[in-house]
Structures are given as structure tokens and as C-alpha cells.
Symmetry: C2
């Protein structure tokens, strides 16, 4: 599909893309750059890429598709470093969870003869690093792409075909739509997961020990989410701060409503609250976003 | 182990206990009472119990162990109905998630010659009803029992052995300890899960459709929790209202701290927050309360 694909940053997502490219035979050559030499050495040793490079310019030269898979805060430096080494008509994309800041960076840099099309594969686990990568990571998962208005059709078609070839379902959105929707489906839930874990483990030591001991009653599911890469999440919260902050405000408003019902011992209101969320679960299963196996299939029949 | 065991209320938990009793051959006779005749008919048809009864008094007469597995709000009526029909030295227990209110009820009723020992098997899925029950439901899960101070040793030993025989690890706690710990490990996380689902789906219709569509990015894990039995949760929130309300207050305090860091674009503080929760996850896996398979084993290697 492409002669050469370069991946900048080979953690969980970058290394999963590499594995998927190899499994599906999507490039003659895969070149990687990572700020950690240990990561590059691992990928070469395991035959996950064809070329590792310690020079980011060399890594992207002659490449047809360049994918940035690093935390958002490193984008500016990376794009400034590579911009003069990019091949004419190459496609430049990323995997970041927020689009607002990167659009600004690209807007301020004069990228000529290169097709910049941001991507966001909505996939991942709570793990980090290249050893945690999986070729199947993107299978049946959404990938949002946000082509600029003046982008040619051909590169959009090619990038879409690439994500589909590694298993994704592709959806085109504006950066604004993307950041708004993801603030609700991903960023706010992560904020809340971190917050519940901090709240219930911020108690005295004896009680904390017991909280861990009996966490299977609900808490453990939040701790999985709250174990994700802290650097990545810091950057997401900095870049999508307005949407997330608004989400937190609505959340607190609803939580105060629940607290009032609890304090008033208002059984009818509590029932109404607890009953109103069942339908959403059904819609999510219908949309293919989760399985209806109880407790994620942890339980055996 | 027991000649006759009676189960009052045969939904997810009651029917799971019945299945486990049968699989492990723990009683000669199992008698059930459920306010739904359809449930009783189903359990008899499927041979999950030996006797179904439409009379709650008949159901408990001559029984050595009586287990109440109904929502907390029905306890008072049930205990008043059966109290004069209980066999001398029978063990009476329950499966409720809060202990405070039931201790009050028992305190106000003169139960003579019966061993009242509340239980809470910390197990379940988001499903409801007898068809969702599983014999393995309690395997390796905690069961908390709270024997009153004046309770004899023998019945405590027998009840403990019963829960262990169906796979549970038994822990003895006071009702106060139980309600405090569970408010943190289970009740508060449930409050938050309901609240996040209500917040992000309380948006206009077009956006709601998209929120469902892209829910795999984090939201879906909360919707599973928020799909649990609303009646059961209403009763838990009414009975454990003080502990839960306190928990919500601490939660809002921590959330305002996070919101401030977001609004201030304070990257160091955000990193510190997101990094502080990783250790807890490790402790939970070490305590055997979850597996370290990424994404609950949804992903394939």
C-alpha cells in the first residue's frame, strides 16, 4: 500500500501500528524513531520494524506516510524538526486524543507539499510501552480523521484505506466536533476515574488497606482506567481544557442533585436516577461498543 | 451440611446461591419463596430448587438456614412475616449491601431462639433475575459476616463454612466497619458511574448519538456499572446515606482541585494527579481483586 511508513514514538500505540502493518503487509519498509534507544533496539530485535533510526530527519526522509504517536506536548518540537525533511506529497498524520492544539501548531508552520491529516485511533489499554502493543489493537475500533478543508481527495482516501486495512472503522469529523465528543466519551470519564481512586484511597492507612482488599465491589474497574499513562493524560487535559472543564461542571451539578436526593432520603428520585441509565447501556451494546457478557465475561456460566 | 435451606427472593444472588448449593450438594432440601410465581415456577422447572412455596411461612418452617436475598426495603415485612415460623436454633441471614438498617429492624423485633447473623457476599454482575444466576458467582469473592456480640460460636462457624463451601472467602466485621468500607469500595463508585452516564448522555440528541457511538474510549465501562438493578441501589443509598453523602463531599472536593489544575493549565499538578493512582492498581492486582490482563482480557495477544 505504501512503500515506506515512518512511526515517530513507539509506545503502546506506535508499536501496535507497526505490528499491524507487518501482519497485514502494508509497507515495504517501516522506519521508526523513538527518544529511547532501548525501544528502537527492542523493535529491531523482535523484527517489528525494518529500520530504526537515531536521527528523526533520517527516519522521515523518503517516507510516504509519517505517523506521530507521541504525547501531544512533543508535537511542536517534532514537527519543527522534520518539516524540511518530508518527501513531496507525503502524508503526515498523528494518533493524538485532542486536535485543537495540533491544528494551531500546523497553522503556524508553513508545511508545503505535504498532506497533513490528523488521525485519532480510539483504541488502547491501560498499559504503556512497546511490549504492550498488539497487532489487533485497532480491530473494529473507530479511527477519527479530520482532513483540513483544502486537503486533496487522494491522500484522504489513502489514509482512510490504511486505517481500515489495520481493522479500524473510519469516521471523518472536524477537529472541534472530535474534541467535544471525546471530552464526553473519554476525557471526562478518565477525569472521574482518577478522581474516585484518589478520593477513596485518600483515607487513613488502615481503611485504605481494606478499600484495596474489597475493591472488587466496583472500585477496581475505575483503577484500571486510572492506571493509564500519566504524561499522555496530562497533555490531553492541557489541550482539551475548555471542553473537559465544562464537562466537570455539569458533572458536579448532577452530583449535587444526587447528593440532595440522598440527604432528603428521596427514594422516588433515587429510583428515577438509577433507572435512567439502563437504556444507554443497551444502546451502547447495540452500537457494537461493548459486549453484553456479564462483568466483561469475567464470570463463567 | 444443612438438612433444609430456604431462600427468600430468587433473583441474581438468590438463584446463584441455589445453584451453588445444588452443585456442591450442601442441603437435602432447598425451599424458595419469591413474590413472583413465574420465578418460582422457573426454578422448579429447571430443577434449581427442590421446593417452591407461595407461602413465606411455609417456606421457612423446619428450615435450618434461611437466607433473605431481596432488596433491603422488603426486609422488615419479611422478617415480621416469618419470625413466628422459624425453627428453634435456625440460622437467619441475608445478602444485603448495607447493615445499619437491618440491625435496627432486628433490634426492634424480639427474635428468640434464632441465630441472626447478617451476611454480605460481595459478588454480582450488572444483570438481574434468576436466569442471570451462576453457580460460580461467589468463587474467590469476599463474603462479610457480622455476628452480633452475643451470638454463639457454633452457628457462626456453620454459616462461615457454608459461604466457604460455595467458594467465598469469609471476613468478620462489625456492621459499622462494613458500611463504611462498602461506601468507599462499592456505593460511591456506583454513585459516580450513574452520575457520569447521566452527565454525558444529558446532552442534545445528535451529540448523544455520537457519545454512544464512540463510548468504547472510556464511557462504556461506566455504563456497565450503571446498568445494575435500580431498586436494589435505591435501597442501598437510602440505608447507607450518611457514609455515601460524606464520600460524595470528599469526591467533589478532589474534583474541584482537578478542575482548578485544568483551568490554570497547571501541567505539573495534572501529572502528579494522574501519576498518583497507578500504585493503587498494582495493590489491587496483588490483593487478587482483579487480573492484570490489559482491558480485562478483551484484547487478544
Amino acid at each position: 500500500m505504501f512503500n515506506t511508513i515512518s512511526i515517530i514514538g513507539c509506545g503502546l500505540i506506535g508499536s501496535s501500528i507497526l505490528r499491524a502493518i507487518k501482519n497485514n503487509n502494508l509497507a515495504k519498509e517501516t522506519k521508526v524513531f523513538d527518544h529511547s534507544k532501548e525501544v528502537t533496539a527492542y523493535l529491531k530485535k523482535e523484527n517489528i520494524c525494518t529500520n530504526g533510526s537515531n536521527d528523526i530527519r533520517q527516519c522521515v526522509a523518503n517516507s510516504d506516510l509519517i505517523i506521530i504517536a507521541t504525547p501531544l506536548s512533543s508535537y511542536k518540537e517534532i514537527i519543527l524538526s522534520i518539516k524540511d525533511s518530508l518527501k513531496k506529497n507525503a502524508i503526515l498524520t498523528d494518533t493524538g486524543s485532542v486536535k485543537k492544539e495540533v491544528m494551531k501548531i500546523i497553522h503556524n508552520i508553513n508545511l508545503t507539499d505535504v498532506h497533513w491529516i490528523p488521525s485519532h485511533p480510539i483504541a488502547g489499554t491501560e498499559e504503556s510501552g512497546p511490549r504492550a502493543g498488539q497487532a489487533q489493537m485497532f480491530k473494529n475500533r473507530w479511527c477519527v480523521i479530520s482532513p483540513p478543508k483544502d486537503c486533496a481527495n487522494e491522500p484522504v482516501k489513502n489514509l482512510k484505506a490504511f486505517w481500515e486495512a489495520i481493522g479500524s472503522k473510519v469516521q471523518i469529523m472536524t477537529p472541534e466536533e472530535h474534541d467535544k465528543i471525546l471530552s464526553l466519551t473519554s476525557h471526562l470519564p478518565h477525569a472521574i476515574a482518577y478522581n474516585i481512586v484518589r478520593t477513596v484511597t485518600g483515607v487513613e492507612d488502615k481503611l485504605k488497606h481494606e478499600v484495596v482488599q474489597y475493591s472488587a465491589g466496583g472500585l477496581r474497574d475505575f483503577t484500571r482506567i486510572a492506571a493509564s499513562n500519566p504524561l499522555m493524560w496530562r497533555d490531553i487535559f492541557l489541550d482539551n481544557n475548555e471542553n473537559i472543564s465544562k464537562g466537570i461542571e455539569s458533572f458536579i451539578e448532577k452530583l449535587n442533585e444526587l447528593k440532595k436526593a440522598i440527604n432528603d432520603k428521596n427514594g422516588d428520585k433515587l429510583y428515577q436516577i438509577f433507572n435512567s441509565t439502563k437504556e444507554v447501556r443497551k444502546e451502547i451494546i447495540k452500537a457494537g461498543q461493548d459486549t453484553n457478557k456479564p462483568d466483561f465475561g469475567r464470570k463463567k456460566d
